[in-house]
């Protein structure tokens, strides 16, 4: 599908759409992605067009005529979109490299069309300190194939007591703060965290779960009753979101709910946004596409926190996406090895991997008429990028050329064993999906191609 016409070549292009602007031939490395359906939700673009990349930067988008030999990627029949931004990923490095590391996790991202990941701080040691953040950044430079943006802890050691050095951490590159894996449950601490982070306009990402209501191991409902498993009621999430929103109203801090899973929490976020509060939220592909019925048979790959919810909750998540209450789709990619998953259900670790199924499962939203393709891609590109304050998730001229090319029609069956991730705990294993990543580019460099797979 792609072929090389020489790495360094002269180009001569005419951008018809922008009045036939001429480019001076110069010695550069350039790539032309030709004839795809170019969708850039940040700028409302959705048309058949070419994308010219010069020295890793997007140089032009439109009907481009070119005469010089340069590297051409034929994209006819493919969607050409901004590389996806996943704002909720667990890369497990440092500390649990047997589950995943930055190299394997970012390879999985690239295979899923994801070019920027925000990695959660519940590593060992916890990313609550400049040294750990520096280590992650250094490892990402050495071994990462996509962009890695660390999320710092809100409290030291995720202990929910002492705030981290958010100012210094932000300056060092942290794009948000979270104690993910557990909530900041003490109301006083959460209030202070929102007040403090506001000075830096930093985003706080809350794993919203009231601990005293979360003792179970699946959603509380008909299925948990039948299976005899202790349940976690929807209220475990909504009471925490309700409380936090009141604290946001008090403090003005920027607040983002991770992996929203319940109808009541969608309602709460909708009301907060209507009041103009700086509140946002994300949903995972597993929460919007599966329900607690996936647990029947005690499948530990259907165990995560928060749990898969009821049909009513799932429908509310779909409505929330359709109505723009939920603006972000994120994976909560949480690798676990077999030791932690091939055990009794209640003992099994929480979490599923998701980077390599993010795009095809999200495209089901488009097929099911929940949202347009452009809106769906926005939730995985420009929306999270804006929340994190990173200059990605768009095909804007002058920005780094992070691009995904995918075939929206190609049908395939998810096989966790074929995945790049070190761990195989996918809840979509065996699912027939549509939409396949063909190539992923970061700063104009191909970091994934499905050729030869």
């Amino acid at each position: 599908m792609a072929w090389r016409c020489g790495w360094r070549c002269y180009i001569y292009c005419v951008d018809l759409e922008y009045g036939g602007k001429m480019y001076n031939p110069s010695l550069t490395e350039s790539i032309l992605i030709r004839g795809g359906r170019v969708i850039d939700p940040a700028h409302g673009r959705d048309e058949t067009a070419d994308v010219l990349i010069v020295d890793g930067v997007i140089q032009a988008v439109g009907r481009l005529e070119f005469t010089a030999q340069c590297r051409v990627i034929e994209a006819e029949g493919l969607v050409v979109a901004p590389g996806l931004v996943d704002m909720h990923v667990h890369l497990r490095e440092p500390g649990q490299e047997y589950k995943e590391d930055i190299a394997s996790g970012t390879r999985a991202a690239a295979a899923g069309g994801v070019t920027s990941v925000a990695c959660m701080p519940n590593t060992q040691p916890v990313a609550d300190d400049l040294s750990v953040i520096g280590y992650i950044q250094e490892r990402a430079r050495q071994s990462g194939v996509v962009r890695v943006f660390p999320v710092g802890a809100i409290t030291k050691g995720l202990q929910g007591q002492v705030l981290t050095e958010m100012g210094l951490l932000q300056r060092a590159g942290c794009v948000a703060f979270s104690d993910d894996g557990r909530p900041v449950s003490d109301s006083g601490v959460m209030r202070k965290a929102l007040e403090y982070s506001r000075m830096f306009s930093a985003l706080l990402i809350q794993h919203a779960e009231e601990p005293s209501l979360s003792g179970g191991c699946m959603h509380e409902g008909i299925v948990s009753s039948r299976l005899g498993l202790p349940g976690i009621p929807s209220e475990s999430e909504s009471v925490m979101v309700d409380r936090d929103i009141r604290l946001v109203a008090l403090t003005g801090g920027r607040y983002h709910v991770a992996h929203l899973s319940t109808r009541q929490a969608v309602v709460a976020v909708e009301q907060a946004r209507r009041q103009g509060l700086p509140v946002s939220c994300e949903v995972t592909p597993h929460h919007f596409s599966l329900t607690d019925e996936a647990v029947i048979g005690y499948d530990t790959d259907a165990k995560m926190s928060p749990p898969l919810r009821s049909t009513t909750d799932r429908q509310a998540l779909l409505d929330g996406l359709a109505q723009g209450v939920i603006t972000v789709i994120a994976t909560d990619h949480a690798p676990h090895d077999e030791e932690n998953k091939r055990v009794e259900f209640c003992r099994a670790a929480n979490g599923v991997i998701g980077l390599e199924t993010l795009l095809p499962v999200s495209l089901e939203l488009v097929r099911d008429g929940v949202m347009s393709l452009s809106a769906c891609l926005a939730a995985m590109s420009c929306h999270p990028a804006r929340l994190l304050g990173i200059p990605h998730g768009t095909l804007e001229v002058g920005r780094a050329a992070d691009v995904v090319l995918f075939d929206p029609e190609e049908s395939w069956i998810v096989d966790a064993r074929q995945m790049q991730s070190k761990s195989k705990n996918s809840c979509f294993h065996g699912r027939r999906v549509k939409g396949r990543v063909k190539q992923t580019l970061v700063a104009g460099r191909v970091v994934y191609t499905d050729e030869g797979r």
Binding site: E220, G221, I222, V223, S224, S225, R226, L227, G228, L229, G231, P233, G297, Y298, T300, E339, R342, V343, E344, F345, C346, R347
Partner: protein, 321 residues
Amino acid sequence: MRTAGNLWTRKHLLGMAGLSKEEIATLLDTAVSLREVNRREIKKVPTLRGKTIINLFFENSTRTRTSFELAGKRMSADVINMSVASSSVQKGETLLDTLANLQAMNPDVVVMRHPESGVLQFLANHLNTALVNAGDGRHEHPTQGLLDILTIQDHLPLLERDSFSGLVVAICGDVLHSRVARSNALGLKSLGAEVRFVGPSTLMPNQAEEAFGVTVHHRLEEGLAGAHVVMMLRLQNERMNSPYLPSVREYAEFWGLTRNRLRLADPKAIVMHPGPINRGVEISSEVVDDPDRSVILEQVANGLAVRMAVLYLLCGSGVRR
């Protein structure tokens, strides 16, 4: 021994869920024919000679374990009892490893009890050995369900009924933590009985009506009204002085089955209990010892017959695997 085995094609008995009316009938018919063995002078038949049954109990239960052990031995099987203390699970070995090791010894059936729901299903997904669920967490206890149903079936003529259809069964007490309640409800529902769950609201499964097709009652009197079968559940001590229940005194006052309260049920109603009984808590001694009402000892006898039937059918009685 009859042709019932031909109707039985399952490899495991993991629960009552999913068992058809016909499968339940096959199990009960087999149990009835085997019950005769237990009444003989020499209570032993060679049916399962050369078969190996492992009883693997991760929770203490003298009754159920003994019942399975005797069931196997009466049919001449080799029965090995393993309790959690003598197994290697506590040395950090995973449950799957433990069972894989057992499987390597090639037993015909592993009978297992475990404190966590779904463990049997989990093992069945990964192993080949035939498994019998002797109670997993609060999920299911199918042989208890079967022995209770057999006991009820025996009493249908006395209750002036020719089938389970329309029979009212009140299952009373700590339904939330009860695998006995779940297995009974599932089995009785598929036979056409009307099942009530009766108990405090803190001890009731979420959305029980929809989950099990039962009615839910939070007053014992209401739940007992007109019932043909009153099944009392054991109240575990650890539920007391917890957010579930304030005290034994309060529980006994509102939820204990007394002779007076039993008058609300059908005049011929039978009273059941899976044991062990907390006399004076969930049930008064006068009811337990009332020969006209209590069928608790019949349950024990039927337990043996049902477990013989299960082992017989799972140990390759006919077309299987």
